[in-house]
């Protein structure tokens, strides 16, 4: 092709980028401008296909893109400038990486000829981000830009999803080329495995049907793989108890009788005990995180383990399994369902009945999620339970990190996948509010609630301004205990009540703060006001409401498996707390 001949057909790198994003079906781009991305911002100004959401901090951009991705299954997109823009974005990128969230982050870079010179606002974005991205690209020629964008979306959204960075030097966004967006992309070095090994699936089916004390344990992979339907069919076909990780909640309805709650550090007693006593464990799209397994030596000591996962590297990483199956969760479950339906063998009904009886006995004996309902202080559990009853699983809930996050996981009954949005792997305080912005933009007619704590919310509180600018009517439930509650709890339990720097002094008046941004502020400090206040806030459809709820400052999350302990060493709520 003669390059001069079709100069008229050539457009700038900035426009190529935007056309490529449009070709990928991107609706929103969360960003913050700066020198290295000015050409891109100029191109954004002159188009109307993409909506740019101006955040107040680049961490907010990445969390918002992440929240959008979790709520929709599509890749979230963020755009930040070089240097400090890129470093501010890293927390959000690492958050997405740990939870395998598809995201494409465009970072501006200094001009090609300046790279390596310690130029103004230069950092090695590729180097800094390498350990927390699925992949990253430095664009060296404008002619490669469109293909690079295509590859980035392909990598981010297929296989085990994850964030991908495209680092674009400023001069590349000014250089011109003909825009041609590839329809399809093939990469010889990247070919995710989709179908499980049929022999392994057959062996798994045999083991499943021979189980006497089975447990199905599922994680975020079922949500990410859109396999909720298959999971429900599989579980109901067998009648087995099913537990889910923090990241898996919602992909099986919490009000279903087969659901035995969340497992792990703050899982219910009967759930963790069932894990400990199980003879067959069916792990689906879960990764045996240390918050789930506790002491690895003692994890499911009696069980033969089947593990279905898209990522071969997840299999036998920490827990050695008996039957590994690599493939997408929905394909493998579909194959298993078919075999189980076709075979004459049925699950052992007597054994299963005895197993269910045992699990229910454990539940009744311990009542491990109990809390004091007669307190004159507001209990955080009560707030979440009331929210759950009022909204019936029909809202989206984001959270930050701490006790409040665990209370949502324990007490909100999620009925659908992609409704529970939290940072499980990295545990990033500051995630909740910006993530809620992404969710609200994706689902403008739905109710989006951000459950947070007074410490977490202050990590990205500046985004209240973004919420005002774009009229995002998020409902913020600030479970205000004046402490970094989760830290205080550990200090109470493991450091003899030495509350070292976990008290959050000099808090703002959150109600006034919210009002100063133009939002509605509410302050609630009596248990009897909780329900009415929640109803009132939920009824306000067009405004952000910040509910500052003053809760019992010493409430703890129970039950608990202390870090490194095993599932059969649970600590229950002390009796004295219930009086």
């Amino acid at each position: 092709m003669n390059e001069d001949a079709n100069e008229a057909d050539q457009i700038t790198g900035a426009n190529i980028l935007i056309n490529s994003l449009v070709a990928e079906g991107v609706e929103f781009i969360f960003g913050y401008p700066g020198g290295a991305v000015l050409h891109i911002y100029d191109a954004l100004f002159q188009q109307n296909k993409l909506q740019h959401i101006l955040v107040r901090h680049e961490q907010g951009a990445t969390h918002a893109a992440d929240g959008y991705a979790r709520a929709t299954g599509k890749a979230g997109v963020a755009l930040v400038t070089s240097g400090p823009g890129a470093t501010n974005a890293i927390t959000g990128i690492a958050t997405a990486y740990m939870d395998s969230i598809p995201m494409v982050v465009i970072t501006g870079q200094v001009a090609s000829k300046l790279i390596g010179n310690d130029a103004f606002q230069e950092v090695d974005s590729i180097g800094i981000s390498r350990p927390c991205v699925k992949h990253n690209f430095l664009v060296k020629d404008v002619k490669e830009l469109a293909t690079t964008v295509k590859k980035a979306f392909y990598i981010a959204t297929t296989g085990r999803p994850g964030p991908v960075i495209i680092d674009i030097p400023k001069d590349i966004t000014a250089h011109k080329a003909v825009f041609e967006y590839p329809e399809k992309i093939q990469m010889r070095s990247y070919k995710p495995i989709l179908n499980g090994h049929t022999g392994q699936i057959r062996r798994a089916a045999e083991l499943i049907l021979s189980a006497k004390r089975p447990v199905i344990y599922t994680g975020g992979g079922v949500v990410l793989g859109n396999a909720s339907k298959e999971l429900i069919e599989f579980t109901r076909l067998l009648g087995f108890p099913i537990t889910q990780t923090l990241m898996g909640l919602g992909s099986y309805p919490a009000n279903d009788p087969l659901f035995i709650g969340m497992l792990g550090m703050h899982g219910a007693y009967e759930t963790n005990t069932a894990m400990h006593q199980a003879d067959v464990l069916i792990a689906i799209g879960a990764r045996f995180d240390d918050r789930v397994t506790g002491d690895l030596e003692q994890f499911c000591p009696k069980a033969k383990i089947i593990h279905i996962d898209i990522d071969p590297a997840s299999i036998s990483k920490t827990v050695t399994v008996d039957i590994p199956i690599v493939g997408t969760v929905n394909r493998v479950l579909t194959a298993l369902i078919k075999i189980i339906k076709e075979t004459d063998k049925k699950p052992d009904a007597n054994a299963l009945a005895a197993w269910w009886k045992q699990i229910k006995t454990w539940k009744q004996e311990t009542n491990s999620l109990v809390y004091n309902r007669n307190s004159d202080k507001i209990k955080p559990q009560f707030v979440i339970e009331t929210l759950s009853e009022l909204t019936k699983g029909e809202i989206f809930v984001t959270s930050d990190v701490g006790q409040h996050q665990m209370f949502v996981a324990q007490f909100y009954k999620f009925l659908q996948p992609r409704r529970w949005i939290n940072s499980g792997g990295l545990g990033t305080m500051g995630f909740g509010l910006p993530a809620a912005m992404g969710v609200q933009l994706a689902h403008p007619d739905d109710t989006v609630v951000c459950v947070t704590g007074e410490a977490s919310i202050q990590m990205c509180i500046q985004e209240l301004s973004t919420c005002k600018q774009y009229d995002l009517p998020i409902k913020i439930i600030n479970l205000n205990n004046g402490y970094m509650g989760m830290v205080r709890q550990w200090q109470e339990m493991f450091y003899d009540n030495r509350y070292s720097h976990s008290y959050v002094d000099s808090l703002p008046d959150f109600m006034k703060l919210a009002e100063s941004y133009g939002h509605v502020g509410m302050k609630i400090d009596k248990p009897s006001d909780v329900e009415a206040a929640l109803k009132e806030a939920l009824a306000i459809k067009d405004k952000l409401v910040f509910m500052d709820i003053i809760i019992d400052d010493k409430e703890n999350v129970y039950p608990m498996v202390a870090a490194g302990k095993s599932h059969n060493e649970m600590v229950l709520r002390p009796e004295g707390e219930l009086a």
Binding site: I126, R130, N136, I155, M187, R188, S189, Y190, A313, I315
Partner: protein, 163 residues
């Protein structure tokens, strides 16, 4: 156990740092790493020598395979294979006795003297063990510099690693 892993990867600027970054981030050790472009300039071939239990080696190969730039890999240790390393060593040889001694040793080890200045430079290829043995045999000499290439590996017979 010691494992020798051969990889084909995209010949991209970041590919080597992805591999070495993986090893440091996950706490795996690298005993030796060599890399160069192949007959196809878009592909590099790397030979990596590492040590670990079966579980760790399994994780290492899975994590390497997961890197987007890695096209293919084999663990050479699983079958018959050949390993070679190149050694360059510069030795002080002030006396004719020492010069004779060096020539004898170089003969025995089938090396070559490739430079004669006020010292000798010897080139030797072989298994890492053979190179170790040669250096040990130089015990009484004054070695000025030792350079080793790191290990290259290739499967025997039809056991190939290609695209």
């Amino acid at each position: 156990m010691r494992h020798t892993i051969s990889l084909l990867l995209e010949n991209e600027s970041g590919a080597l740092s992805r591999v070495s970054g993986l090893f440091s981030a996950r706490g795996y050790n690298i005993e030796s790493l060599t890399v160069a472009a192949t007959e196809d300039p878009t592909v590099s071939r790397m030979t990596l020598v590492t040590r670990g239990s079966d579980n760790i080696i399994e994780q290492i190969t899975k994590q390497l395979n997961k890197l987007v730039d890695v096209i293919k890999l084999i663990d050479l240790t699983e079958g018959l294979h050949i390993e070679r390393e190149l050694l360059l060593v510069k030795i002080n040889v002030p006396t004719s006795n020492q010069r004779e001694e060096i020539k004898r040793l170089v003969d025995i080890f089938r090396g070559k003297i490739i430079d004669v200045s006020n010292n000798y430079t010897v080139e030797l290829t072989g298994t890492p063990h053979k190179l170790d043995a040669f250096i040990k045999a130089l015990e009484n000499m004054k070695i000025q510099e030792v350079v080793r290439s790191g290990i290259l590996g290739i499967g025997r017979g039809d056991k190939n690693l290609h695209l």
